[in-house]
Amino acid sequence: MGPGTGLADHIRAESTRLAAVCTSCGACVRACPMVAYAPGVADADAVAVVTGVLDVLRDGPGTPEALAWIGGCTRSAVCTPVCPEPMDPAMMMRLANMRARGALGGGAQIPVKQDPGWSARVKAFARLTMTEEEQAKWL
């Protein structure tokens, strides 16, 4: 198993497991505080939105509403306690988000916001806020 292969396998296995447990009841969508910020989701059928998420977990294209909801997930986890099934819908959304951003290859289905200067920025701030000794020990 090469470096990073384990995470891809884990994402696939967890996607399969959660997609099998979820009944698409839509309780997670109805509880979500981000629906108002996800275009088209507030007016969509909650069951259809979750069905689209499950499609993404199964390597499908999803639906525009499902992808909007996936892209708008900020990990509030308000969905977790309302789910009637033995699963965590917040984890389901996290997996769907990673897949929709192209984590397993095959291109992204939602916009990917990555900060190419992240690592250099962290180090630049560290040089401002830490002593040289602290940088040597802490970074």
Binding site: G4, G102, A124
Partner: protein, 282 residues
């Protein structure tokens, strides 16, 4: 770089973006030492949970595995987390792929478990009518919205008010990526601060602190992190330089040319200065 922790210490895994707040890392280690825990800080890109590279499982997974392997190599039995993203990634993606030989515990849990020792050390009154900046997320994993107020109430003079506002997301960096959410949450926060007649807004996480300190401008309250308030109660000195720089009319002047040169002029200009000069969200 390898973590410099000894087996008889705990690793304080502060994450990456906490590099903006060196004083919080320093204060956490001082507070832990005061309650009998010797902690070695570790963070930055070399100890990444993989979160910034999640668009590629290959890259994120490689980063995450290397971090677990580094922590395993220390022989430390406990890794104490700060960042909710790191904490959740450890539970959800890192440990299941690369088995750790340590337990993971959030800093709020560790300090809360030692709160009686902490209470004995809180001898410096701090006058504060405080509202906690709370998110809905992460609290289901670690009940930070209860643990942090409990800890703040150890500080003599601190009154903690819970207006019941739970901002979406697990921390502000998550909601800042969705247009309109950060601004709406900050307006709601200002409303509850006014209704509660609070003079102190307390942040829990680093990205919330980063996004929130500019709310001080032109307003009659201060923004502090919960660690800052604990430090004040313990009599530990600190300076929140990020807040000073972020709210300075001239961040360059506030930091000074020598420190900017030490950080690297080009890096400062391209990577740091735009963030410090960014207008407040509301």
């Amino acid at each position: 770089m390898a973590v410099t922790a000894r087996w008889d210490q705990v690793v304080f895994w502060y994450g990456c973006n906490m590099a903006r707040h060196g004083e919080i890392i320093r204060l956490v280690t001082q507070i832990l030492r005061a309650v009998g825990v010797d902690a070695a800080p570790a963070g930055g890109p070399a100890h990444c949970c993989g979160s910034p590279q999640e668009a590629s499982a290959r890259i994120a997974g490689g980063m995450a595995s290397r971090t677990v392997e580094k922590f395993n190599a220390t022989g430390c039995g406990q890794v104490v987390t700060w960042c909710p993203s790191c904490h959740m990634n450890m539970d959800d993606f890192m440990a299941p792929v690369t088995p750790p030989v340590f337990e993971t515990r959030h800093i709020t849990e560790l300090l809360h478990a030692r709160r009686e020792r902490l209470r004995e050390l809180m001898v410096h009154p701090v006058a504060a009518r405080a509202v906690l900046h709370s998110h809905a997320g992460f609290n289901g994993r670690v009940p930070v919205n209860d643990l942090v107020p409990d800890l703040l109430r150890l500080v003599p003079g601190v009154e903690v008010i819970d207006p019941g506002l739970r901002v979406p997301g697990h921390m502000c960096s998550a909601i800042s990526a969705v247009p309109g959410v950060l601004a709406a949450s900050q307006r709601a926060t200002l409303d509850v601060m006014a209704a509660a007649q609070a003079d102190t807004l307390v942040t829990v996480f680093h990205s919330c602190h980063r996004e929130t300190v500019a709310l001080e401008r032109g307003r009659n309250f201060r923004v502090v992190n919960w660690i800052h308030l604990l430090a004040e109660g313990l009599g530990l000195g600190y300076e929140d330089e990020y807040k000073i720089w972020r709210n300075a009319e001239d961040p360059r002047g506030a930091i000074g040319p020598e420190r900017i040169a030490a950080a690297g002029d080009v890096a400062f200009e391209r990577l740091v200065e735009p963030e410090l000069r960014r207008p407040p969200t509301v």
